[in-house]
Amino acid sequence: MSSRPPPPLLLAATMDVLRRHAPFNAMQQDALERLAGALKLRYFAREATILSPESGPINALFIIQRGAVKAEETSGVSLNNLAGTFTEGECFPVGALIARRPTRLRYTAASDTFLYVLDEGAFNQALESSAPFRAYCTKRLAALLELSTRGTREAYAGRAANELTMASPLRTALRRAPVTLPQGASVREVLELMKARRIGSVVLTNADGCPAGIFTQTDVLDRVALAGQSLDRPVEEVMTRNPTSLPASAALSEAAQLMARRGFRHLLVLEGEMLAGVISERDLFGLQRLSMQGLRKEIAQSGTVDALAFAAREVRGLGTAMLAQGVASEQITQFVSALNDAVTERALELAGRNHDMAAVGYCWMGLGSEGRNEQTLATDQDNAIIFPDPPAGEREALRAKLLAFADEVNRTLDACGFPLCKGNIMARNPQWCLALPEWLDRFDDWMRNADPEALLNATIFFDFRALHGDAALVDRLREFLLGKVKDRPAFLRQMAANALQVRPPLGLFGDIVVENDEGGTIDLKRQVSRPFVDCARILALSSGVAAVSTVERLRGAGPRIRMSEDDVATAIDAFQFVQMLRLRSQDSLERGLGTTEPNRIDPDTLNSLDRRILRETLRQARKLQNRVALDYQL
């Protein structure tokens, strides 16, 4: 009868609550408005059951407005570890709703709780109409990470920009005159122009010739291809209206910050009232790549230890800057590793001049995190030498020569900011400067005995990689290892038992358990990162995967041990998140902020989004451990 729209204030207040949380903060206004308008609000007193397997197929999504919800296994044993506590802004049970099946968990109110209820129809509509919502529901961890990355980028943008002398005005970075079309042009015309001119965006103008909108490559996918839009429709129907602009005198850093904060990839640049051009995220990143190549050159050309040490310090600066730009931790560690490799290589070349190494065959190996390409910013040395077995009687003389050389290299690297290894796992140690047959014996020995020392060594030495010299030697060693380890189930089982000794700090209800005598912190390396690294090593060795990095090991082993593609991708995302947290924490340590321990972090200092991801990451670590436990009946 009366068909009034719902009071705007009611909608606005609800949207305000939702916008504090992912994925709602990333949703378009109209999609969020439709979602909010369809919500019901329910109350559950503490301990009241909200959902259980007996509730039947799920037909609504629950979003926690305030309070907390406990999810528990009802059947006792389970491996999927979704149990935990959900807090404000979190949604459940997404999987069951999408699959229209009963939930496997029992959900009860952990405290007095108000829940928004979104019925199936409105849920499906949101899935269809909102990409961020869809991504959140179908790829929960990945979507959260994306949002977190954006946050990281924002937090660091200003500082990094300064370091990159991005204080220069935008007009210096514009690469071409703006390309415009009237907004009445068809999508086809716009796409053809983009192709012809090889550009990523076109600015659309209104009748007065003023910018009215922008259309970019990304929009083609979202708003045209996937939306099934006809190419003959006017582009104004799919363009982004009123694109954000900055004056040409604004600093590059300002553009970087604005993009990071609002998640834009393009900004208009105005000279007075006139459109002067478009600046893209890529343009800003381009500046970055130049300095990276410059750095590589600088390393390769440094003629003295001092010059090399200077270049090495700049590598750290670059790591920070990349962190600032929200580059994934896998890429950062790869770049940093690549540059560190270049530093090591140059250190070997410099030392080689003093030791007449030209005719000596050997290979310098990186071990541990260096071997895995997972060095964070604060890494000490872990290296060794492998050399071909010389004619009888010459082995010790050759070893002595290599040790003298290695000693100089180790000291050079120390001067370059890679501290000497406290455990003396370095090439200058006679124990770790070995001929190929000696290495084979050593490895064989460890696998045969599997005593605590052997197991500890395996975790460091089995993550080996050729850094400089004759890589064929390292290939032989790896072949031997992979061939032998399969026949040593007892050794693998011992390694598995070791890998399970440190459990991720996850409480009974999915809360993060801090160590109070450590100032309420958790150890990211020992408690979070290492379970991933150790489990990946075991899974790779047992399934004959030669890769060394944790990510590559998981990717390689996944299909062979019938882990689903999604599970592998999620585990990798989780591992990379903890690596990113470690980078961030080490970075703030170097700058004298907050933490005093490079790998310790107080979860309360994380924003709510990162805390949620950390919890999810801990669950993933536990899941991986459970997988290993199951394999070895532990």
Binding site: M1, S2, R4, P6, P7, L9, L10, L11, A12, A13, T14, D16, A36, G37, A38, L39, K40, L41, R42, Y43, A45, A48, R66, D112, F114, V117
Partner: protein, 232 residues
Amino acid sequence: MAPAFWPFRGVRPSLDPAVSERLRHWKSLREYDPSRPAKAGRWVVVDVESSGLDAGRDALIAVGALAVVDGAIDLADSFEAVLRQDAPSSVENIEVHGIGGTEQTEGEAPDAALADFLAFVGKDPLVAFHAPFDSIMLKRAIDHHLGVAFKRPWLDLADIAPLAWPKYASRLEGLDAWLEQFAIPVAFRHRAIADCLATAQLMLRVLEEAPVIGAPTAGRLLGLSGASRWLT
């Protein structure tokens, strides 16, 4: 011009035919069932804003209403209207509810808005905190603009909350205190619809307590509310 004598009590000649039709329809609606479980069915949470605190004299400026259906607040099942005033209320008063002078003088025609309100409420029981004030304001306005006697059952949460949570009864007085006790946020205090949303959340809690305090049915719950006895 109104004739000197009008045979149909309560329906005034000046009413728009569409409004009259709506009133007839409202009157024909079935009464709610007092024997239904308290948590089942529909309750309408109401809050009004007025030009002052004298329910007998001050003008009704805005009405907000929000339904609680089967124990859930349905955000789409909601109502808000600002009634057109001949002159804006005082500055002090505007500062309380935030409905500015222009918004008041450009509000909706009161007869149509109140007819819409009746259609929204239907014959379901009403809920408010300090219900007598809202009840009297609405009764006067509806009688004045529509010529209808608005006698409805009201559940006054100011009566029920102390019964539901006796341990807080001596300490908590007024809506703000109860909202604070249960950490219920209010987006804009004294905007009718925002107050409704907060009051409705208190109502969700009351409905959970209803069976415990001996009021398993809607009728019994209303019976516990002192206000309901003399308002109906």
